[in-house]
Symmetry: C2
Subunit: 381 residues, 2 copies
């Protein structure tokens, strides 16, 4: 397949956007990406979204968004729970790389804050195994809490050891105007924040929100010289959805598989990654992602936080625009926000949280507690 370049990005601020419908939020990101790409339309639209059918009473987002944006082109929604953005990007990528389309807009969108929190909690739980996990009374945060508790027990970490993931995310989000949260936090704040599901505190967990992010992709061969942002690797992998059925619930097998595959495609290893936008829905997931992708030994993920390696000037910067933790986690849109932020880093547009000389970036989007994991590597050339 032919190489693909990203020529446009767009995003909305993540917030409680009660005055806008889901189609308006999606179109806002699309218009920004079109403007950035200097294009007026695209041959296809791929939409990442998880819960519009449940929360917004709206399926069929493809034609809804295409029509509202004034682009009556083929459009489809791709769903992989919280990994929907990454999955939609991969679908659009294959469609353009194959020659089926000459351009595509990929947009991730989610509007979650119009409903009562217990309805949103129920909707988020649809990412887990309804029959064998949710029916037993465990929530999605509860599943992550089980993983975190076991991890702390197996490897001897205490709760405060996860604080650097949240502190770094909040510090970086201060410089991202699109981020939901703009408050610096301290170790003391982290330790004293409200308990959600032991050992997960409020500051271990990412906030939901309404938002959309979009990208415009074309075949690289159509660009005339200049700096280009190319997709150097794209892979998806699945694992058992219920954590009790995994042979090792403390290892993200699908993150390992998909990251190994993108390293192979890009001809690089973890040491070559300049910036890594990972899926920090909960602090424990940051540790597990870093380990599965080869940045830390098994059980040693928190060490990278404690050593300062994850800050923008560290050797493996993560959540440089705030991550899920502080930029926010509009679930089906998150995967596109991550990719947009990697592009911002590779373009050198990140100001105070710019990773010096960033040339290769990775984004990893997770659906469920590790069931679907989609990894992409982008490279500036």
């Amino acid at each position: 397949m032919r190489p693909i370049a990203i020529i446009g990005i767009g995003q909305t601020k993540i917030d409680e956007q009660w005055d806008k419908s889901i189609r308006e939020i999606a179109a806002e990101a699309i218009f920004a990406a079109l403007k950035d790409a200097r294009r007026e339309s695209a041959e296809g639209i791929f939409i990442g979204n998880m819960m519009s059918g449940i929360i917004n009473n709206q399926n069929n987002l493809g034609p809804l968004v295409a029509d509202w944006a004034g682009l009556k082109v083929p459009a489809v929604k791709v769903d992989a729970a919280c990994g929907s953005g990454g999955a939609a990007f991969r679908s659009g990528l294959i469609a353009v790389a194959s020659g089926e389309l000459e351009s595509a807009l990929v947009v991730g969108v989610e509007k979650m804050t119009d409903r009562h929190p217990h309805e949103v909690t129920a909707a988020l739980a649809t990412a887990a195994d309804a029959d064998y996990e949710i029916e037993m009374g465990v929530s999605f945060v509860g599943l992550n809490a089980l993983i975190m508790r076991r991890y702390m027990y197996e490897y001897g970490w205490k709760h405060a050891d996860f604080a650097p993931f949240a502190i770094n995310a909040h510090a970086n989000a201060l410089h991202n105007p699109f981020a939901r949260l703009h408050n610096k936090i301290t170790l003391d704040d982290f330790e004293k924040s409200s308990m959600i599901a032991t050992p997960i505190n409020l500051l271990d967990a990412s906030p939901i929100g309404d938002g959309a992010a979009a990208m415009y992709i074309v075949p690289a061969e159509t660009l005339q010289g200049g700096t280009r942002i190319l997709i150097a690797g794209s892979a998806s992998a699945t694992d058992t959805i219920a954590i009790h059925n995994r042979s090792d619930p403390l290892f993200l097998a699908a993150a390992y598989k998909s990251s190994q595959e993108v390293y192979r495609q890009a001809g690089i290893g973890p040491g070559d990654i300049d910036v890594f936008e990972l899926h920090d829905a909960f602090t424990i997931m940051s540790a597990l992602s870093l380990e599965a992708c080869g940045f830390a030994e098994r059980g040693q993920g928190p060490r990278l936080g404690l050593d300062g390696a994850i800050t923008p000037t560290g050797h493996i910067p993560v959540m440089t625009r705030g991550g899920l933790k502080a930029r926010g986690h509009p679930v089906g849109a998150t995967g596109i926000y991550q990719l947009v932020e990697v592009v911002q880093q590779l373009r050198g547009e990140c100001g105070d949280t710019q990773v010096p000389e960033a040339r290769i970036g990775m984004a990893q989007n997770i659906g469920g507690s590790g069931a679907t994991i989609i990894t992409h590597i982008l490279r500036r050339e």
Copy 2:
């Protein structure tokens, strides 16, 4: 892109399957397709489904189904409301045709009968425009009733003129063991059936159900001689989702666009189609599909039914295995059932409803009241 062949098909009976979960139903169709293809696994799984998040409290169907079927390969769900099956097939097709995968399973699945009918009606309504149609109190069948009433007024048809579509579907379903309904109906039954939303009677409307259908696709170049079923055309198009915003609500513009595109790809015209599995969610949609795809002049679709052209021995056989009307309409699975049935026709496996010498077949899957329309042409060689 390289030509693609269908080497395996599978389906479950459409019914109220209260003793099986959605993953079990999906896996039953997958196992049948694998057996038919004489394969043990595939490199990717594409799942068409519309409402599992709403009705089954289950998103993330990709890893759920892949894991349950014992195939831990990349898997994703594609959603285009009632057009989800066709959209998933097109995604799988592009992935294999592009060289990204060497084989794929595409499965459409829906489990709709565990909930109260009013919940299912609400879930079906998510295929329409939530803000501008559903919020005003119109249901999905209500939207189709508005179209049908206007069509009857504009072109002078009476309700009984639509009966042949339903009578033909029920007659054909008698010979399909996987069909939901196995009862012959008469013109008298049609006229006397209960009113749902005037002018739509119970016998104008397709029944929902639980079911799954699956297909196994590979690059045609990997097959050694013999008869092959190839995909000769694949296209998707979108229209305005709300019918009041269409310049002409009596013309399926997206059916016209996608059928013209597949005719062009296949190098044929409507006169070359031996069998056409269309999306007869309501009898009015049969008429509109036949017109938009070039089988009848504007406003003359019902004539094909009255003249007997739509039966298996007519010149444009439709719903040869029962169609949505009598085979049943498990919404996100329907698009794959249609394709499976076209394959059965091209293989000559349809017994009493076999279309003589069927060599080229078309399947058309509709999401919403014409918002997303995906059309495929298959050819036996």
